[in-house]
Amino acid sequence: MTLFVDIGSLDDIPRQGARVVKTAQGCVAVFRTADDQVFALEDRCPHRGGPLSEGIVHGTSVTCPLHNWVFDLNSGQAQGADKGGVLTYAMQVRQGRILIDAGLIRRSAAA
């Protein structure tokens, strides 16, 4: 069973925006869509390392700000011609609080 840890309030993230959570495994981008869905993805584009948390969020996709690679927030997979993907992390929203996979506190991901 996945353990979760509270990282903040849903209102801390702007709609169609993201905030960063620093973890032992690198930065994680926590996205909020226009209809309040929340996703957590590795904040590092596989192309040139761009911060996806600074990309434009459209529908359930985000565009990397450096070279316009587009990622599906559900799967973390690059869309269109670009091949590659980023890790996605389990998360929940409960009573307006955002909870993320507590495994991120550890130095390496649980197998």
């Binding site: 990282i7 801390d12 959570v21 973890t23 390392g49 434009i56 459209h58 565009t63 070279h67 550890r106």
Partner: protein, 808 residues
């Protein structure tokens, strides 16, 4: 054993001859080169760009001392030849002599000086060499008269006008360039020149040049007097034949040569503007280069025949596009096809005889000139395409085969899209795999998906693969909609749409929430249309505009404080230095726009750094925005000994009016205090060059992926008027341009004439300024101050830091 070759005259024709000769037979000749001018060969065609300041003399030198030295040429520059001793085969200059086995006369031409009183006064020049050019470069703020409205005279006039002179062109005939242009095109040319402040006086016969010690004015037969500190005579040239005449060679108008370019003496040859071949003399460079090729072969004892071909004329005046070739006099059996677009100042005329083109005149849009010229040279039968001929190759269904042939010849590994490293082979494969629209090609290969400058090439490669059946990119602004940018803007206005969701709903967007391409565009269109009602959507902005700093490749940011007009103070510099040290800025760099860039700032430090800079009175420099960037200035009349106006003060004033405004793309200004143009104003979106009489405002320059000089918009007598015109222009651009089009692209779409008409109309100008000020009542404020408040600062830091918990 080497034979001795003596060449008289170091011009473009003999220069080309020597190149051919040394390339083909480097050891055949010992060359001695005499030149009356104290220098070697330079590109005389480029004197006009030197005059206008677009090039320097050094840039137009074709053969320097090292070139001659490497080939063992005995250079005798500054030594005019005074005689040829044909019996002993010796050439004498004013200082030395040289024996020859073969002699080449390349003395060129001499300017024709009309025999009027005053023609020998100081201040009267021709337009032949560097000395003349230098005299004309020194006319800023002075009066200049050019006698002769032909190719050379107009280039002289435009060049001096660009230097800031008040120029009048006096022309004997009824319209300008009457040998190359018909009256209609001559009229358009005259109108364009007059817009640049050049006075044109046609049907003007010069009676005298007035002045006691030097030229002061020009008097015409009709009594008109034009003041003139400098008079340039550019009425024509005649072959320079005096040496040949003295040597008793056969001379008519020029030195007579046969098809091998031999004169009446078998040891003496001639080429260039000094020769006459089958009754024809030459003034354009292309036939001279052909002569050089032929004479090189003759000198190597090979058979070669000079056969002149028709040549086309282009005027080298930036901003005046004209093209002329062939014969366009009216005659029985000749027909015209004429196309006019008065609004954009375009005129095209084809003269036909027996379904073949015999003459081409184009003004304003000369892109198809080479194609028409090719048809004319080949004597092609244009009967089948006569209906659409005037519209050019694009309308001939396959007739525009030339660019395709070039693309077809590229190897598969040739890189087509430089941004994304896509090769021709990749595009061909994708097309074979079913990507038959540009959009499909972009999404499966990324070709032309970044800067877009290769789009035409990508389409051509696709056409190659698909047999000419490329479907154009859909008209829509992106894949989310079929509406074009222009349509979306119109509908936003007419339907009163005031939010991004409203636009997407009512215009039937095909995606949820748009994409990274349409969202920033919509945000801009809405805030430009409804400055008071619409609230800027930060989440629809590209990261740099959302975070008010430029993101770098490692995710850090650069911070550029505004320095009004590029002017700063010791205390501002101290505050910048303090901030750089306090936040461990790894690089401090001076930008091209006269600002200081602090590179490598962490996102969470941004609001703190801004607060520190704000405290010293510094605000955002908007170095990240599609908006007013910088106004670059020179020091102007306050300190500079050449400055004519307070360019620094004007730049600061413009920046204080325009700062904070959002525009379709970035906008950069330059203000130079004199035509020396130290602020490089003439490659900016808006450039102002101060002159004695006021301010020359030009627009639509570019110095990025494309480089383009600005085009004159207006001249203003006062600072107030200058600020008004610039403000109105910027607002017109804000209201009309497509998102991400710089002003030069927008101006090319709507035409400078239309823009001038708007700005020139007092009511329209005032309304534009008023709308700009309404928008600025919202946006003329410092975003750094707004985003470094206690409520905002926490939002720049990470939401949570789980590494700290791990450490506990």
């Amino acid at each position: 054993m080497k034979r001795k070759l003596v060449v008289i005259g170091s011009g473009m024709a003999s220069g080309r001859l020597l190149e051919h000769l040394f390339d083909a037979a480097p050891d055949a000749w010992d060359v001695t080169l005499f030149n009356a001018e104290p220098r070697g060969n330079y590109n005389r065609l480029m004197l006009s760009p030197v005059l206008s300041g677009e090039k320097t003399y050094d840039q137009i030198v074709t053969h320097d001392d090292a070139w001659y030295a490497a080939r063992g040429v005995d250079c005798r520059f500054g030594e005019p030849v005074v005689g040829i001793d044909r019996a002993n085969r010796v050439v004498h200059s004013n200082r030395s002599s040289a024996r020859y086995d073969a002699l080449v006369i390349a003395t060129g031409s001499a300017p024709f000086i009309i025999p009027v009183p005053g023609k020998d006064l100081p201040g009267v020049v021709a337009y032949r060499d560097l000395e003349d050019t230098r005299a004309m470069m020194d006319t800023a703020g002075k009066d200049a008269v050019v006698i002769g409205g032909g190719l050379l005279g107009l280039e002289a006039a435009a060049g001096m006008a660009a230097r800031g002179a008040r120029v009048t062109v006096v022309h004997l005939m009824g319209h300008l360039m009457e040998r190359q242009l018909d009256p209609a095109a001559g009229y358009l040319l005259q109108r364009d020149l007059e817009r640049r402040g050049i006075t044109v006086h046609c049907k003007g016969a010069t009676k005298a040049i007035l002045g006691t010690d030097r030229a002061e004015a020009v008097l015409l037969e009709d009594g008109t007097v034009y003041p003139a500190d400098l008079v340039c005579m550019a009425v024509g040239i005649r072959p320079e034949t005096r040496l040949a005449v003295d040597a008793h060679l056969e001379v008519e108008r020029g030195i007579v040569v046969d098809d091998a370019l031999r004169t009446s003496d078998p040891h003496i040859f001639a080429l260039g503007e000094c020769v006459e071949h089958r009754g024809q003399v030459f003034g354009l460079v292309a036939p001279l280069y052909d002569q050089a090729k032929v004479l090189a072969k003759t000198l190597m004892d090979q058979d070669a025949v000079f056969a002149p071909v028709q040549t086309a004329t282009k005027l080298k005046v930036t901003g005046c596009d004209l093209f002329s070739a062939g014969d366009f006099a009216e005659a029985p059996g000749r027909e015209d096809i004429v196309f006019r677009d008065p609004g954009r100042g375009i005129y095209k005329r084809l003269v036909l005889e027996n379904d073949r083109i015999v003459g081409v005149v184009m003004y304003g849009d000369t892109a198809d000139g080479a194609w028409f010229y090719g048809l004319m040279k080949d004597g092609a039968d244009i009967g089948p395409m006569r209906d659409t001929l005037i519209f050019g190759p694009a309308f001939q269904g396959g007739a525009a085969a030339d660019p395709m042939a070039a693309v077809a010849a590229l190897p598969p590994e040739a890189e087509i899209c430089g941004c994304n490293g896509v090769s021709k082979g990749t595009i061909l494969n994708a097309a074979a795999g079913g990507a038959c629209t540009l959009e499909a090609m972009r999404s499966c290969t990324k070709a032309s998906a970044s800067c877009g400058t290769c789009t035409g090439l990508v389409q051509q490669v696709m056409a190659l693969a698909l047999g000419g059946e490329v479907q154009d990119a859909p008209a829509g602004m992106c894949k989310c909609t079929d509406h074009s940018h222009e349509d979306v803007r119109r509908l936003i206005r007419s339907m009163g749409l005031k939010s991004i969701p409203a636009v997407m709903q009512d215009l039937g967007w095909k995606t949820v929430g748009g994409c990274h391409s349409c969202r920033p565009a919509l945000n801009y269109y809405l805030l430009a249309e409804w400055p008071l009602d619409y609230r800027d959507d930060r989440q629809s902005r590209f990261v740099n505009e959302r975070n008010h700093a430029n993101i770098q490749k490692d995710g850090t940011y650069s911070v550029v404080p505004r320095m009004w007009g590029g002017v700063t103070t010791p205390s501002e510099l101290r505050a910048i230095a303090d901030a750089a040290e306090k936040y461990d800025v790894p690089m401090v760099k001076v930008t091209g726009g006269q600002r200081i860039d602090l590179l490598g700032v962490r996102k969470e430090d941004l609001p703190h750094m801004w607060a520190d800079l704000n405290a010293a009175g510094l605000v955002s420099g908007h170095a990240y925005s599609k908006g007013l960037r910088t106004v670059k200035t020179c020091v102007g009349s306050q300190f500079c000994r050449f400055g004519t106006q307070d360019s620094t003060g004007l730049g600061i004033r413009l920046e204080q009016v325009l700062w904070g405004s959002w525009t379709p793309h970035k906008v950069k200004l330059g203000v130079s205090g004199c035509p020396r143009n130290c602020a490089e104003a003439t490659c900016k979106d808006v450039g102002i060059v101060c002159v004695d009489s006021g301010y020359q405002i030009s627009v639509a320059g570019a110095a990025g992926m494309e480089v383009k000089e600005t085009e004159p918009l207006a001249t203003a007598a006062t600072e107030d008027e200058t600020v008004a015109i610039v403000t109105a222009f910027v607002q017109l651009y804000r209201e009309g341009a497509r998102y991400l089009h710089r002003p030069y692209k927008w101006v090319a779409r709507v035409g400078l004439d239309w823009i001038k008409a708007q700005i020139d109309d007092p009511a329209t100008r005032a309304a534009l300024i008023e709308r700009f000020e309404i928008s600025q009542s919202v946006y003329r404020r410092d975003p750094w101050a707004d985003l470094s408040t206690p409520a905002e600062v926490p939002r720049w830091a990470p939401l949570a830091d789980l590494t700290l918990e791990a450490a506990e």
